[in-house]
Amino acid sequence: MKAIVNVYLKEGVLDPQGKAVHHALGSLGFDNVSDVRVGKQIVLQLDASSMREAEKEVEKMCETLLANTVIEDYSIEIVQ
């Protein structure tokens, strides 16, 4: 099974990388962009008996290591 984890800074936490990319887009003429957030994607291959079990397991991984929940949120997508 494959798990796709997206980690990104929480709403309200200023994202310095997003701000820099936003600025760069603006200077390239893409002036219709109102906000940019830069996160990271972590793709895991794992064994699990069900998608539900996989999701629970990956959620634990996010809480302990993959995300710093003081500043970051995460989303999990499980793919067969």
Binding site: L9, L14, D15, P16, Q17, L65, N68, V70, I71
Partner: protein, 223 residues
Amino acid sequence: MNVVVLQFPGTNCEFDTRYAFERLGEKVTIVWHEEEMIPANTDLVVVPGGFSYGDYLRSGAIARFSPVMKAVRSYADNGGYVLGICNGFQILLESHLLPGAMKRNENLHFVSKHQYLKVENNDNRFLRHCEVGELLNIPIAHAEGNYYIDDERLKALYDNGQVLLTYCDENGDPDNPNGSVDNIAGICNEKKNVFGLMPHPERAMETILGSMDGVKMLEGFLA
């Protein structure tokens, strides 16, 4: 005094830190991250600067789970003194031994220069030889020193006297090199036995290196 300096893969300030405490006449032992124990007679654990585990995932995120960190946690829980410098500060934040988190510097640059700091609180072991409002000239060198904490916890930091050092210029006016909340450069935990700062006092131990202001900071830990 017996000082333990931790060493992770990617740590690069352990020998400077040992040199600094040896200059102050103290005994220093470097302890590899795979050790599950720290010596029983330890008076201070220093988590030094560097790039533990290549800063992969987040600075300090992987070092936090090293076997030695379990020993450091119980040492701190029993009131032992712990000092995290730069990457060491990041490791203590990731370990939740200190509150808050680090983000990339606001300007995304790796900042490496001498920086003035203002002492905000000296009612603690670390800064007890410094005066409140005193300016210290200490080198900084980091890409992720943009300290973040939410408003509620920030207020608690102030209420408990846990904001120890802020960034300023030579006149004491705010001068923020990284976007850190309220210009914060260093904090401690509520019990005031765990300390973290981004600047490097161990690099300011002799005039030939531009400043000796690190001496009175590190001397705070001496008996």
